[in-house]
Amino acid sequence: MTVSERTTIRSNGATAPDATGHVLSVEGLTKLYGDGCPDCLRLTGPETETNSCPRCGSIVACADVSFELRPGRTLGIVGESGSGKTTVLRCLYGDMPPTSGDAYLNAYAGGQRSIFKADPQERRRIRNFHLGMVYQNPRQGLNLMISSGGNVAERLLAAEWRRVDAIRERAAGLLGRMEIPLDRMDQIPAYFSGGMQQRVQVAKALANGPVVVLLDEMTSGLDVSVQAGVLDLILEIQREEGIAMLVVSHDLGVIRLLCERTIVMKSGRVVEAGVTDQILEDPHHPYTQLLVSSVNS
């Protein structure tokens, strides 16, 4: 198996950027757990340092999150546990519906209609054809009891690939690209190391030629040397394929490596946004200053 075997990941006619030049724009994304009350948003957030509404007890996981993503660019979302960063990804991927807000994907309805307003069937289609997701826990992104090749094939079938030989070829190419030895393609990921499982997840997330890939703390469980290898592979593929990425991490080292722009979240709100080196070297918000000064990235 030649590891360097190059696979074209973009396969299903990625769309050109719309007039605004964005592949994705998110406007006012808000997610509440609970019934909510008129005071929820006012009584939660970074100033009060809580996500939990003192009046009605609802949890404001994230509120009024807005950002844009251009093709081939990588945006980092940093913040502590409970800041709402994963909720943003989940809403976008369709794992849960947002309470309010809109997200426009230029691959869907020419960016004219919010993907949150799509009916369930369309929503599934958006996820199967245009998005990719890598979860923190491989268990969520993979079926550990079917072969790694089968995991990738599953995704291709969802994107309506029909020819078995083409599916097999693509799965082999992607797994090879992610440095999974060919002889392990037919093994189940349950027998793989954590690093390998994550690489299979990445291969699966890229299979359908997505325009945006969402990465949720994907290297958090890996040791540092394995993490560096996985990150480098992602960077390389991203550069070659021009895929846009949204990277959620609490690890500023990962953010520095992968992301050109970064937004900082605290208590469900975006408190700062900027070019990544500016966020890390000249943070303005008190919380970002605390975050950056707490670690050696």
Binding site: E68, R70, R261, G274, D282, H285
Partner: protein, 267 residues
């Protein structure tokens, strides 16, 4: 007194402007230190004509690196403007430009040689230095070829090319850093102490390489401790002290400007 500023002004009428900095001010507000405020610099104005080299001299802590970082948007400024003329002659104020516009410029036009390299783990010297070219869509082999030229000129031992710069010495890292910036031939190159870890023979080579880059059309703003070296490279040298420009003088790189200053009785 005929200042070099007037000399630059004369040049400016002939040479189009590349960067115009006006009344720039930068202050750090350190919330985690009970709102302590630290002034990096203020009232900074200067012109950088296209293909010029403007040198910034001054002691440690005088604000020169901060100024460079503001030009690159690594730092945000608190006031003033940085008018930048792009290759298509449109202008943009880097102070309030959108992040994506700044990132576009970093890919297409603006290079930065930082004082210290921050190597990506498990990326070889060749790949790391080729990155700006790859980002522009130059094929890998071609990018490697261009980088190799600079590695050779800078005397980076061949057996290190496939090594990981994270393990290199300061001087070796600095050469990777320089090769990375020079190989991509940016329109504007910002240099922060690019020769601080190099011996004098390598410094000569860097001076030569920078002069060549200028010939090809690169504009430069450079910060250096070594005032002699800086003067040799520069058309104009700004001296900073405690966050202000306290003196401007002509460098040796620009014959006409030097002539004017000499005529004015300063040199």
């Amino acid at each position: 007194m005929t200042t070099s500023r007037e000399a630059m002004g004369t040049r400016a009428r002939m040479t189009p402007m590349h960067v115009q900095v006006r009344n720039l001010r930068k202050q750090f507000n350190l919330h985690i230190l009970n709102g302590k405020q630290v002034l990096a610099f203020e009232d900074i104005s200067f012109d950088v004509p296209q293909r010029a080299f403007v040198g910034i001299a001054g002691r440690s802590g005088s604000g020169k690196s901060s100024l460079l970082k503001c030009l690159y948007r690594t730092y945000l400024v608190d006031g003033g403007t940085i008018e930048y003329t792009r290759s298509d002659d449109t202008t943009i104020d880097l102070v309030d430009a959108e992040d994506d516009a700044v990132l576009d410029l970093r890919v297409d036009e603006i290079g930065y040689v930082s004082q210290f390299l921050r190597p990506t783990p498990r990326v070889t010297a060749l790949d790391l230095a080729a990155r700006p070219l790859l980002r522009r869509g130059v094929p890998r082999t071609e990018a490697h070829r261009r980088v190799a030229e600079y590695f050779t000129r800078l005397g980076l031992p061949h057996d290190l090319w496939d090594g990981y710069p994270i393990l290199f010495s300061g001087g070796e890292q600095q050469r990777v850093n320089l090769a990375r910036a020079l190989a991509s031939q940016p329109r504007l190159l910002l240099l922060d102490e690019p020769t601080s870890a190099l011996d004098s023979s390598l410094q000569r080579e860097v001076v030569l390489l920078l002069a060549e880059a200028r010939e090809r059309g690169t504009t430069m703003v450079g910060v250096m401790h070594d005032i002699e070296l800086l003067r040799e490279l520069s058309d104009e040298v700004l001296l900073m002290e405690a966050g202000r420009v306290v003196d401007r003088s002509a460098g040796l790189a620009s014959e006409p400007a030097q002539h004017l200053v000499t005529a004015g009785g300063r040199a």
